[in-house]
């Protein structure tokens, strides 16, 4: 922690106020949710490690299965729930990742705005359809 913070958190000394870290940080956004994007990206990443290993292994195990075998497998409660959780983690992770890419490479304001909205809505739509399909197979 820097010195000014320890001794004068509100930085009331007019002689140093304008050169302080606090002065430079004011107006640049909340310090409370700034790391939220970063954190959720990590939480979903950690969740996706076992979930994707499970997905690849399961798909391998069912590579030979016909439609009926797959429908029965996907319809098992544990499989349907795992698939739904996987889709949630995946599309949340994807939404955050694609957002960063748009923010980094798209600089025209209107295109950027449209792209960011599109990323969120497409991810949400895919999540809704995928989770519905998983649950449908379980409750059919």
């Amino acid at each position: 922690m820097s010195d000014w913070k320890r001794h004068d958190p509100l930085n009331r000394n007019p002689a140093t106020a304008r050169s302080s870290a606090l002065y430079r940080a004011i107006g640049l956004g909340s310090a409370k949710s700034g790391a939220h994007h970063w954190w959720v990206q990590r939480v979903t990443a950690v969740a996706l490690v076992p979930l994707l290993v499970w997905l690849v292994a399961s798909l391998l195990a069912h590579a030979r299965g016909d439609h009926q075998v797959l429908a029965l497998w996907l319809g098992q409660p544990a499989v349907a729930v795992t698939m739904a959780v996987l889709l949630m983690a995946l599309f949340w992770h994807m939404k955050l990742g694609l957002r960063v890419i748009v923010e980094d490479y798209v600089h025209a304001d209107r295109v950027k705005f449209a792209a960011l909205i599109a990323v969120d809505l497409v991810c949400l739509a895919l999540l809704a359809i995928g989770v519905f399909a998983s649950l449908y197979l379980a409750f059919r």
């Binding site: 590579a63 797959l70 990742g97 399909a133």
Partner: protein
């Protein structure tokens, strides 16, 4: 002001020498985008299983065509790469492996691991399909 604008912004991709670190970083993003397209297939596949019949037969036919298999191979590698490099990122978040030596070592490990896992998966997959 004009001269200031013309100066290259670093790292300028046209003159900047590619390094393992920068290449792996951009490949992480590219595989992420490619995998996003794969997620559409995952959802389409689930819907096809729900729908059954002709829809499923169509998706299955497409998946087993050469273009489908080629894309699946690409998605397999992209998935393993993104997974392995993602674990590398998580290790960095825990403050492990930041020394230059470790960064290169983990980088090459990611390259090797994702290739080995891809080959292993397809060997197993094709053996199951035999």
């Amino acid at each position: 002001m004009t001269t200031a604008k013309l100066r290259p912004r670093s790292p300028d991709v046209q003159i900047y020498k590619p390094q393992l670190t920068s290449v792996l970083s951009i490949v992480h993003r590219m595989t992420g985008v490619f995998l996003s397209l794969g997620s559409v297939l995952l959802v389409a596949w689930l819907v096809a299983v729900v729908d059954g019949g002709d829809t499923y037969a169509m998706v299955e036919r497409w998946l087993r065509s050469w273009i489908g298999l080629l894309l699946l191979l690409g998605w397999t590698f992209a998935l393993f790469y993104h997974l392995c490099n993602g674990i590398r990122h998580l290790a960095w978040d825990l403050d492990f492996g930041f020394e230059l030596r470790s960064i290169y070592l983990s980088g090459w490990t990611v390259v090797a691991a994702s290739m080995i896992l891809t080959v292993l998966t397809w060997t197993l997959g094709l053996a199951v399909l035999e």
